[in-house]
Symmetry: C2
Subunit: 222 residues, 2 copies
């Protein structure tokens, strides 16, 4: 089996992406902590998922400077996390500047070091928050930079298997692949019970409602 890196934040999209990657690859799982509000809880979800799937090769990275750079409500405690899903076309303040490029660059470096041919990331384009670094056009351009900026004998590709799925389709895909959604975390705000009100909780709750099943994690409000 070829090797692949899979970036696993611990949220539902990355968990489904991980299950997809595991069908065809020997997965190396990477997790990045960047000073976001819920980083301890997300790390727990990462640990639970890799244990569940018996993944042996893991890399946990701290990019604490992403918090120092700030300019996002996820990393700056002075900026409030919005309590509703934003309007289409407006990038919400939860956007973390160029975060996916930072995480992907480390994933590609690990891929080059271990001889992996793919780097999986669970980005979602349309049915999500409108972050610029979640668009397919960004990943396409980034893939070109990967091809130019790594050793000529390597062939590493960023893979985004859920990018054009709706959140409901992602839940359905996860059910089909028996993804343990009870181990995942999406809330931007809380670390014990999900708040049920932030943008990320609302997108997740709507996704499960759309799929006609109950989200297995606990909420303060829903």
């Amino acid at each position: 089996m070829d090797k692949a890196i899979c970036l696993v934040s611990g949220g539902m999209d990355s968990a489904v992406t991980l299950a997809i990657a595991l069908r065809d690859f020997e997965v190396h799982a990477m997790h990045v902590m960047y000073g976001q509000r819920t980083q301890e809880r997300e790390l727990q979800s990462f640990r639970d998922l890799v244990e569940y799937y018996g993944i042996e090769q893991t890399l946990i990275i701290s990019m604490d400077y992403i918090q120092r750079i700030g300019a996002s409500s996820l990393t700056d405690r002075e900026i409030e996390v919005p309590m509703r899903v934003g309007d289409k076309g407006i990038i919400p303040n939860t956007y973390v500047p160029f975060r996916n490029a930072q995480i992907l660059s480390a994933g590609v470096a690990w891929a080059e070091a271990v001889g992996a041919s793919k780097v999986f990331i669970g980005a979602v384009e349309e049915d999500s928050s409108g972050y610029p670094d979640c668009r397919e056009s960004f990943f396409k351009a980034f893939n070109d930079a990967v091809s130019k900026g790594t050793r000529p004998d390597t062939k590493i590709e960023i893979v985004t298997p859920v990018i054009h799925l709706s959140k409901t389709q992602i839940v359905k895909k996860g059910l089909e692949l028996k993804v343990p959604f009870e181990l995942t975390w999406s809330c931007y705000k809380n670390i014990d019970k999900a708040c049920g009100e932030c943008e990320s909780c609302q997108l997740r709750l709507n996704a499960f409602r759309g799929a006609g099943i109950e989200d297995p994690i606990s909420y303060e409000l829903k």
Copy 2:
């Protein structure tokens, strides 16, 4: 004056790049430690350069995971640093997988957060070690990824002012701009006196010889 980020490793190429950036921009200087053999010495050069130029906005980042990813003689003490300049077309083992993408991504994030329009990097293409992430084609592709992956109202560009200069031309440009070369560090191996034998020392010594002046730093051998 517009703001620009300048990546400053502490070597001669980045010092000249910094002097170039300072002519037209309010510079924010960034330095990355990544577990390389000489990181403490390079950090000292960074501190000396920003003090010399009176730069107030600085960001020192630790990417310790680059060392954990390894696969380079600069970060893995088990791999020997080559003691000669390698053959053209062969990437030496001092190459650090996708390092420049990792550093540039953080630079772009800082640029987006502070409203800077440029990210300067002192990469050199032809007259250097042949690293894939120092080629103009890589920066061109990366610029496209920056344009796609940041907020639509930002316009951030990677700038490589010395990429097509020879190392001797870089020394000459530095002399013209009164760059304090005595504060810079290039040796891959030592932290007190430069070894004079490693690839990086040899490229530097040749550059100063070509420019017909004495390198102001001390060497064990030259």
